[in-house]
Every structure is written in structure tokens, then in C-alpha cells.
């Protein structure tokens, strides 16, 4: 018997937890989604045929995608500065990036409301100094949702990137320039590809977490920014429509799983490429 086999029993608590708290409820949802009101795929057909549901699915993907791209664009320079800053600045940056984790998401979303609404701080200041005549609509729309979500999810992008960047030896960049690459080409041809594992991990974390976001779009979004989690909540809370809500939840789960598999497959292909 190998050491690996002998220590397998250490996994029992984790297996129990996943079994009871994840597999069981998911199979229960799956069963309800295909058995009510009668056995069949009617709930799924509804989801993929009615424009309201398709619209929400599209919203979910669009918002999660935009959040991921914004997190990458903002997170990359932050992670880079963290790696190359002096130690005390690095500590400060890590602290600043982590702050969102320490406050409740509800409190944070309400705080954004206070700042962004028509009578909020930003509009007051802009109107006060005469830059604009009318208050801007910067909340209860896509902009507000993205602002709130990017703020919350940024650490999930920054830390994987940081850990990868910190291990990239400076000599790679120096070697590239020595061999004739301008700094810009050295960045795109050498530095960025070496960051890809971190960027990929960060993007996957942000995108997948964003797919199931609920409170932020509910508080900061408008009518057109409904995401799938809100829809599930609404179907159950207002209509008691468990079968359709279950089907939506299963669609979300399978979609996430598919995406995960595709990203894995793509990164494998990349590795095998000559």
C-alpha cells in the first residue's frame, strides 16, 4: 500500500461536505427541472425560446465578460506595480487591493449608491463646480453594475497575476531587448506570454464568480441589467416557480462547466503548439 492510498481517508470530510451540500441539492434541482410539471425538457425549451430569458442569459455573459476584461486591464498594471515596487509600497498596495474583501458586499453596494446617485457626492461636486448642468445617470445602469463588480472582483485578478509575475525573472526581458526587441515587442512577445497563466487563472475566477452575481446588479443595475441569479431568485420568490428556476440554475452550472472545459482545452492546445 502506498502512502497516497493510506492517506486517502483524509479526504472523507471534504467528500461528505461536497456530497451533502452540493451533489445532493444539485441532483434535486436537476430532477425538478425535468420532472415538473411533467417529465421532459419543457423548462429548458422555455428558457431557450423566450426572448426574456435569452436576454437575461446574454446579459449575464456580457456583464461577466466586460467585468473580466476591465479587471484584466486594471489588474495588470496594479499587479505589475506590486511586483516592482519597494517593499512598503507593495504592502500598501496589497492592503488596498484586499480592503474590498473585508467589507460586506451589501454595504459596499449601498456605498456606491450613495456616491453615484443623482444626489450623490460625484454629481453634487460636478454640478457644484459647474462642469455639468444636469446630474449624470451613473447608477441604475450597466456602468454602475460594472463599477461595483469590478471593484469587488479585482483581487481575484490581481493576486493570481501577482504570483505569476513575481516569479518571472527580469533576465527574460533583458534577453529579449539584447536580442533586438524594442521594449514594446519584448513586452508582447516575451513578458505577456509569461503572464498568461496568471491572466488565465484570474480571468476564469472573475468570469465564473461574476456569472452568479446577484446583489450588485440588483442594487446598482437598471431593468436591462438583470442577471441569471436575479432571475432565479425572482422565479422562486415571486412565482414559486421551482421547476423553471431549477432549470435556470442547471443552465448556469452547465454553462460554467463548459466554459471551464473549453479554457482547459485551449490552454492544452497552446502548450502542444510548435
Amino acid at each position: 500500500m502506498t502512502a497516497g492510498n493510506r492517506t486517502l481517508w483524509l479526504l472523507i470530510p471534504a467528500v461528505l461536505l461536497i456530497g451533502v451540500c452540493f451533489l445532493y441539492p444539485v441532483s434535486w434541482l436537476l430532477q425538478r427541472s425535468v420532472s415538473e410539471p411533467v417529465w421532459g425538457l419543457q423548462n429548458y425549451i422555455t428558457i431557450f425560446s423566450k426572448s426574456i430569458y435569452l436576454g437575461v442569459l446574454w446579459n449575464t455573459i456580457a456583464i461577466a465578460g466586460a467585468t473580466t476584461i476591465l479587471c484584466a486591464l486594471i489588474g495588470f498594471p496594479v499587479a505589475y506595480s506590486m511586483v516592482h515596487a519597494r517593499p512598503w509600497i507593495r504592502k500598501l498596495l496589497i492592503f488596498v487591493v484586499l480592503i474590498p474583501f473585508w467589507t460586506s458586499i451589501l454595504v459596499r453596494s449601498f456605498a456606491w449608491l450613495v456616491i453615484l446617485q443623482r444626489g450623490g457626492i460625484i454629481n453634487d461636486i460636478l454640478v457644484g463646480i459647474g462642469m455639468i448642468a444636469e446630474p449624470l445617470d451613473i447608477v441604475y445602469n450597466r456602468f454602475g453594475v460594472l463599477l461595483g463588480m469590478v471593484q469587488v472582483l479585482l483581487p481575484f485578478m490581481v493576486f493570481p497575476l501577482y504570483s505569476v509575475m513575481a516569479r518571472i525573472d527580469g533576465s527574460f526581458f533583458r534577453a529579449a531587448t539584447n536580442l533586438g526587441a524594442t521594449p514594446i515587442r519584448a513586452f508582447f512577445r516575451v513578458y505577456l506570454p509569461l503572464c498568461l497563466p496568471g491572466l488565465g487563472t484570474g480571468a476564469m475566477l472573475v468570469f465564473i464568480i461574476a456569472l452568479g452575481y446577484f446583489i450588485t446588479p440588483a442594487l446598482l443595475g437598471g431593468r436591462g441589467d438583470t442577471m441569471i441569479a436575479q432571475l432565479i431568485f425572482e422565479r422562486i420568490d415571486e412565482f414559486g416557480d421551482w421547476p423553471l428556476a431549477s432549470a435556470l440554475a442547471i443552465v448556469l452550472l452547465i454553462g460554467t462547466g463548459l466554459l471551464f472545459a473549453i479554457i482547459k482545452g485551449v490552454s492544452k492546445l497552446r502548450r502542444g503548439r510548435i
Binding site: A175, A176, T177, N178, L179, G180, A181, R185, L194
Partner: protein
């Protein structure tokens, strides 16, 4: 003499109050293999980095082919470099790595592949093109780094302790390979190492660095046989030092404690000095022989068997320990014994009298 390919003139790099390199003057001829030798922190790598363009000099200048290098950015210098840990791009195959400098120079794809293949053949790695660097051994990675640094036919090749990560056997093998490549390609090489044996084996000329300055520049033979400073005598090979005052300085020779030697550099009469003599230049006799010119008498303290030779450590009366090296056959004839008396003699032309600093 023809115009040097590379000229370092009064080159210096100061970090605040600290001089990492100071007043570096050196001319390197086309096709020459010059080694920067010195302990860590002696300024040899700093100087190399200034030539590569990664470090900006705070004094003096560098010129290549008579043109000042200082205003030219790293990527336009056309100087190849082999990094200490190779710095092969881990996400590119061996062929892509080697073709990288050609790609950056806009060489067409087909031509690029052909030249990369030639370079791989040159370093004995034909057929390894589609491997990733991490799939190669240390020695193979070293060859890829060499091929990549030479494939674009740079005017100058810099090597920063390129063999430091390899084990002894492989290192010696790679030393020879690099020398052959240098001979065949005719590339001018600046090579940095802290390994004096490596420097002696490989170089046309060696510049010995200490405390940010060049102590002495010369052929391996000159540095070994005619060191100008105590540091050089000590750093290259093994040397015995006998300390005293310089006496009878006459331009070419002098004496220390009645022992005659040649002057390494001009010395003031009565200054603190050492007489330096190599262990293999000492003639060993059993017993306390006649006290003639240039002889030392002492007690045998240690006998070290080295296979082809034997080293005897002999303690003089004042406690100074002197090492003498004899070939195996000679050592058997001398037949020293532990604790017995021994007499050492040497010729004045084999000893150097150097300032004791």
C-alpha cells in the same frame, strides 16, 4: 596596431557614494577572447552590463568600431549575450528561441528557419528544434543560449558566468566547445567569470578586477608568471608570500629579508612588501642545507599526496608557512618526512617582489 573593436575609456559606475566600477580602461581587438576575472562584487559584471547597455555608465565611455555606444539603446547595439541562467524563453521552442533575434530583425520566415537550423547544428543540437527549453539538460540549454546569442552574427559576444550552473566535468567540456566556437566563428568575446582556472584555460587576455578597478590586464601566462600586484598573485593560482621590507630596489630587482626577486611594479625603498613565489618554483632539499642565496629553512609540517604531485607545507622559523610542489618522481627522491628539516631554494627570476597592501 589596428583600431580596437571595443574601447572602454575611463568607464565608471557609481551608486551614490559607492563605486561599482571605476576608471576602467581596456582595448579589445577584433577576434580576441578577453575574460573579466575577479571575486563577486569586483565590478566585472557591472562593466559587462554597461557594454550590453543594461547599466548606464556614470563616467567615461564605450565605443565599438570607433563609434560611441552610449546613445545606442540595448536593442540596437547588435551585441550578443549569454546570461548566467541562460534566460531561454520558456514558452518558446528551441527553434523559436534561436530564431528570435532574426525575427526581431525582420528576417523572412524561411531564411529564419534555415539560419536557426544552421545555428543548432553548430552547437550540436540538430533535431532538437521542437523541444521546449525545460525538456533539455543544463548543458543543452547552455548550447541553445550560445546559438541564440550567435545566430545573428553579433559584432561582440558577452558571456556572464555562463558555465556557473554546470557540474565540473560538463563545465570543462563546454569550455573547450566555447573556445572552438570562438576560433571557428572569429567572434570577439567578453567573458565574465570568478573561476581563475576557467580564465586561464580560455582567454587570450584576462583583466583581473578588484574593488571596481582593473588590477592588471595580460595574457594568462603574464598574469601567472609576472603579477604586478599582490592581489593578482594571490587570486590566480597558488602563491607563497614572504612579508618584509623592500630593499635594494634597483628598477628591475629588489630583495625582501635577504631574498632576491624581480619587481612587479616600481616600489619605494623600505616599503612594506612581499616576495611571491609559486610552489612549483621551489626546489626542495631534505635537511638543513647550506644557507646560500635565496634559500629558506624550516620544518616539514604537512605532506599532501596529490597523485601526480606532492605538496609539502614547510613552516619557517617565524611561523610563515610555505607550500612547495614536487612532481611524484622528484618527491620520492627528496623523501621528506614529517617534522624533519627541509631547505627550499629558488631562482631570483622566479620570484616577484610586490607592494604589500
Amino acid at each position: 596596431m589596428t583600431e580596437p573593436l571595443l574601447k572602454l575609456a575611463g568607464l565608471g559606475k557609481a551608486y551614490g557614494q559607492v563605486d561599482a566600477a571605476k576608471d576602467i580602461n581596456l582595448d579589445v581587438a577584433d577576434g580576441e577572447f578577453v575574460t573579466f576575472l575577479g571575486p563577486s562584487g569586483s565590478g566585472k559584471t557591472t562593466t559587462l552590463m554597461m557594454v550590453a547597455g543594461f547599466t548606464e555608465p556614470t563616467a567615461g565611455g564605450i565605443s565599438l568600431n570607433g563609434q560611441p555606444l552610449d546613445p545606442i539603446p540595448v536593442w540596437k547595439r547588435d551585441i550578443g549575450m549569454v546570461f548566467q541562467h541562460y534566460a531561454l524563453f520558456p514558452h518558446m521552442t528551441v527553434a523559436q528561441n534561436i530564431a528570435f533575434p532574426l525575427e526581431m530583425r525582420g528576417v523572412a520566415k524561411g531564411d529564419r528557419r534555415k539560419r536557426a537550423e544552421e545555428a543548432m547544428e553548430m552547437v550540436g543540437l540538430a533535431g532538437f528544434g521542437s523541444r521546449l527549453p525545460k525538456e533539455l539538460s543544463g548543458g543543452q540549454q547552455q548550447r541553445v543560449a550560445l546559438a541564440r546569442a550567435m545566430v545573428f552574427k553579433p559584432r561582440l559576444l558577452l558571456m556572464d558566468e555562463p558555465l556557473g550552473a554546470l557540474d565540473k566535468k560538463l563545465r570543462e567540456h563546454m569550455q573547450l566547445e566555447i573556445m572552438h566556437l570562438h576560433k571557428n566563428m572569429g567572434t570577439t568575446v567578453l567573458y565574465v567569470t570568478h573561476d581563475q582556472e576557467e580564465a586561464l584555460v580560455m582567454s587570450d587576455r584576462i583583466a583581473v578586477f578588484s574593488n571596481g578597478r582593473i588590477e592588471q590586464v595580460g595574457s594568462p601566462r603574464e598574469l601567472y608568471e609576472a603579477p604586478q600586484t599582490k592581489f593578482v598573485a594571490d587570486f590566480i593560482g597558488e602563491t607563497n608570500f614572504i612579508a618584509g621590507k623592500a630593499q635594494g630596489c634597483n628598477g628591475a630587482g629588489a630583495s625582501v629579508r635577504g631574498l632576491n626577486g624581480q619587481l612587479g611594479a616600481p616600489l619605494q625603498e623600505g616599503a612594506d612588501a612581499v616576495l611571491a613565489v609559486r610552489p612549483e618554483r621551489l626546489k626542495v632539499m631534505n635537511g638543513a642545507g647550506a644557507a646560500g642565496g635565496n634559500t629558506l629553512t624550516g620544518t616539514v609540517k604537512e605532506l599532501i599526496y596529490l597523485g601526480q604531485s606532492r605538496k609539502a607545507i614547510i613552516a619557517l622559523e617565524d611561523g610563515t608557512e610555505v607550500a612547495a610542489l614536487e612532481q611524484a618522481a622528484q618527491a620520492e627522491a627528496t623523501a621528506l618526512e614529517m617534522g624533519s628539516q627541509a631547505t627550499l631554494s629558488f631562482r631570483a627570476e622566479d620570484a616577484r617582489i610586490l607592494a604589500d597592501v
